[in-house]
């Protein structure tokens, strides 16, 4: 399955599918004549093997959660079952998946790279080295992988759909932004993700700006409060900070309008319901809340990564909060130490972003606000609200879309009024390409980019 341009689910290796009326049984009919890059035909049994491989703890995959909704997945992971009961091969071209209970965005999970099919014999031949010698069913073959240096793909002529228009794609990993820009300027790179520091230069360059692409990404950046302990277990303090920060001004100035103001956690593209009420910048109101609750003169610790762009933003936020009569101590940490600290709930406040794994509002509500996901699973503010929990749970099993959006609207409205986050913005991606590149576009989710459209003049 793949995600189409309108963020809808499109057939790919699965030609079509049927969902039972109770929403638990998915029957997929697989496309015939699809081959792996080692020429072998893809069969339904390969999918069962591939999905179970991800679930198998021996694989150490970070993506087991993609298949955890399937019946029997838990038993298989614990080792008490030899296979996943809910994945059945009916014949070479039919695969049936049974879920524990309905999960409305299940098809989205099947578009993820974790659900890509791999041939058992090749995996077993290479063992732990499979990642250096991968075989799959996609439009390209991995020719060379030098970690932190280059990844080189070569076009496959026998791809089951329209083959790529270019003979290959090389991804170069260039750690230093200015070096990447130099490589682009002298024409060694076809497409460049514009570094933040170079954005205004390209925007103002008459020639280059014609070749800039932009796309509002499926992400939400936020300022998180630790809701599980004082002082931020007090919603009025959260509200005060929210009202005391001029998000729009930060977005328009230091962020150079490289995003859209967020009304709530769910990006507008995915929100099929009315957006929550905006809370405008209001220092007086913010100060009133602080006086009322007696938070005058307290000190908060605010964690950030060492990324310069983020540090700049965090410092501006610090000065806004200081205006309210509250001291903020900024602590800069290297990325993994930072991640660990916020997972453990160490800071009072932190700055973070969330990027979608698949285009469904569920992906912005369940991991981030459900109380079962405290800490590393996504809910790093340790936000707990039984009403929100049950709304999200009910939406998962509701099959009627309209009803689902209603539930999500209620959940989002509640979250916005509880304010575990200061909802900052949805970041826009920018790339610049050489004049000889055509049919180029940015994709909202990396798995959408099959590399078959881009072409040269």
């Amino acid at each position: 399955m793949r995600i189409g341009d309108n963020l809808d689910i499109k057939p790919d290796l699965a030609e079509n599918w049927m969902i039972s009326s109770d929403g638990c049984l998915y029957t997929f009919t697989l496309r015939r004549g699809v081959t792996f890059s080692n020429k072998r035909t893809v069969k339904a049994a390969d999918f069962k093997y591939s999905f179970e491989r991800i679930l198998n703890p021996g694989t150490k995959s970070p993506n087991t959660w993609v298949f955890e909704k399937i019946l029997g997945a838990d038993d298989f992971m614990k080792g008490s079952a030899a296979d996943v009961k809910g994945i059945k091969v009916l014949d070479d071209h039919t695969l049936r998946i049974q879920l524990k209970q309905p999960f409305s965005p299940f098809l989205c999970l099947m578009t993820m790279t974790a659900a890509y099919v791999v041939p058992r014999e090749v995996v077993e031949r290479w063992g732990a080295d499979f990642s250096s010698h991968p075989v799959g069913s996609g439009p390209f073959i991995l020719k060379e992988w030098l970690p932190n240096r280059t990844v080189r793909f070569e076009k496959r002529e026998d791809y089951f759909a329209a083959p790529a228009k270019v003979s290959g794609i090389i991804y170069r990993i260039i750690p230093e932004d200015l070096t990447a820009v130099t490589e682009f300027e002298i024409g060694n790179i076809d497409v460049l993700t514009i570094p933040a520091s170079e954005y205004s230069r390209y925007r103002n360059d008459a020639k280059r700006s014609l070749f800039i692409s932009s796309l509002q990404g499926l992400n939400t950046y936020y300022l998180g409060f630790n809701c599980s302990r004082p002082p931020f277990n007090n919603p009025n303090l959260r509200k005060a900070i929210f009202l005391g920060i001029d998000r729009e001004k930060i977005l328009n100035t230091i962020y150079e309008k490289r995003g859209r103001l967020a009304a709530g956690p769910v990006p507008d593209i995915l929100r099929k319901w009315d957006e929550p009420d905006h809370h405008a910048f209001d220092v007086q109101k913010a100060k009133a809340f602080i006086q009322q609750e007696g938070f005058d003169g307290i000190t908060l610790n605010f964690y950030t990564t060492a990324d310069q762009e983020i540090v700049d933003i965090v410092e501006v936020i610090q000065s806004y909060i200081r205006e309210l009569g509250i001291q903020v101590k900024i602590k800069q940490l290297e990325w993994s130490a930072y991640k660990e600290a916020i997972n453990q709930g160490e800071p009072d406040m932190f700055y973070l972003g969330w990027w979608a794994d698949y285009p469904d509002p569920e992906n912005f509500l369940f991991p981030l606000f459900h109380s079962s996901n405290h800490g590393p699973a996504g809910n790093r503010t340790r936000y707990t609200n039984a009403v929100v929990d049950s709304l999200i749970e009910r939406a998962e099993i509701v099959l009627d879309e309209k009803k689902r959006w209603q539930l999500y609207k209620m959940a989002e409205d509640t979250i916005v009024s509880d304010m575990p986050w200061v909802f900052l913005w949805h970041k826009t991606d920018f790339t610049v390409r050489q004049p000889w590149i055509t049919n180029y576009k940015i994709y909202q989710i990396y798995s959408m980019d099959k590399g078959t459209e881009i072409s040269l003049w």
């Binding site: 990642s131 070096t179 130099t182 490589e183 993994s336």
Partner: protein, 310 residues
């Protein structure tokens, strides 16, 4: 001499053991759980437990250390937590790159530094001396991320003579090697200048002059040869540190060397990579020091270690 070498080589063993113990304890003390970086953050607790067991990180530290030593004995550093590739293989592919860059930088720094220092000493307190001193001090103090970017702007962007980044043959080496050579060149020219000045005042130079030996011969044969000991020390230290990777230079020029590999390992808490790099690095450092000691022996008879006297 031979007994001395054998002794030095035997000393390597406890030294390396100490280093493994030290780095091992340091990586254990680092914040950040590698299991999380490995399986991501949405993994179930049971799965995390299972992986801890498999990696052995739930054992006590001593048995983890012994397990690691056992692995080392087999000439293995284990697999990277991230790429699942053998750390030994990655070090083997990256080390030649680092070696190329280090040799390149030394080929520029040593002749240039020696020459500049020598000239500065002979022309002491003249305009030439001051200009050379200024250049040397700049070379030592200008950070490579600045000089490197300047060189890149000039040679890649403006003149389009050399590629700005990438790992490869001569045309790729020149820019990073030149960048990396600047600080070493500065230090070398300063040291050479001071040493040569000291030697010029020594009585044996006067004697040589009195004997009627020509100035050029005095400088090349008598002064230069005697100046080589401190210079060799500096070259050895610089070279050894370059062989452990030059993180900044490698980062700017996208050079695929040991330095960036180590750095990425540290950032990602990739313990096998960190340990592998540190141990290899230590080994190189010790070996280079050994080579320098042996060079002393040839350069200066006074340092010669006499087997009989020991």
């Amino acid at each position: 001499m031979n007994t001395y070498m054998v002794k030095r080589l035997i000393l390597l063993i406890p030294l390396l053991l100490g280093v493994t113990l030290l780095t091992f304890s340091l990586t254990k003390a680092l914040p950040g759980d590698p299991v999380f970086s490995l399986v991501g953050e949405r993994a179930q607790p049971e799965v995390i437990e299972k992986i801890r067991k498999e990696l052995g990180t739930d054992n006590n530290v001593l048995s983890q250390y012994l397990g690691y030593l056992k692995l080392l004995m087999q000439g293995e550093f284990g697999r990277s937590y991230y790429t699942n590739r053998h750390v030994v293989d990655d070090i083997m592919t990256k080390f030649p790159n680092t070696l190329k860059l280090a040799v390149g930088a030394m080929l520029i720094a040593v002749p240039a530094g020696l020459m500049l220092g020598f000239v500065a000493a002979l022309k002491r307190n003249t305009a030439i001396d001051r200009i050379i001193s200024l250049c040397a001090v700049s070379g030592m103090s200008v950070p490579v991320f600045w000089s490197g970017l300047l060189l890149m702007l000039l040679f890649s962007l403006k003149l389009k003579m050399l590629p700005p980044s990438g790992t490869g043959d001569l045309q790729f080496i020149i820019l990073p090697a030149l960048t990396l050579s600047l600080p070493a060149m500065g230090i070398l020219s300063r040291i050479t200048r001071t040493t040569v000045l000291e030697i010029l005042d020594l009585p044996f130079v006067k004697t040589a002059r009195a004997k009627g030996i020509g100035e050029i011969k005095i400088h090349l044969v008598h002064v230069f040869r005697n100046a080589l000991i401190p210079i060799t020390t500096v070259i050895g230290l610089d070279f050894a540190s370059y062989l452990n990777g030059a993180v900044l230079t490698e980062t700017i020029f996208g050079w695929d060397g040991i330095g960036r590999f180590t750095m990425e390992g540290i950032i990602k808490r990739d313990y096998p990579v960190i340990m592998g790099c540190v141990i290899t690095g230590t080994l190189i450092f010790i070996l280079i020091n050994l080579v320098v000691d042996i060079l002393y022996h040839y350069l200066d008879p006074r340092v010669r270690i006499d087997d009989k006297s020991r």
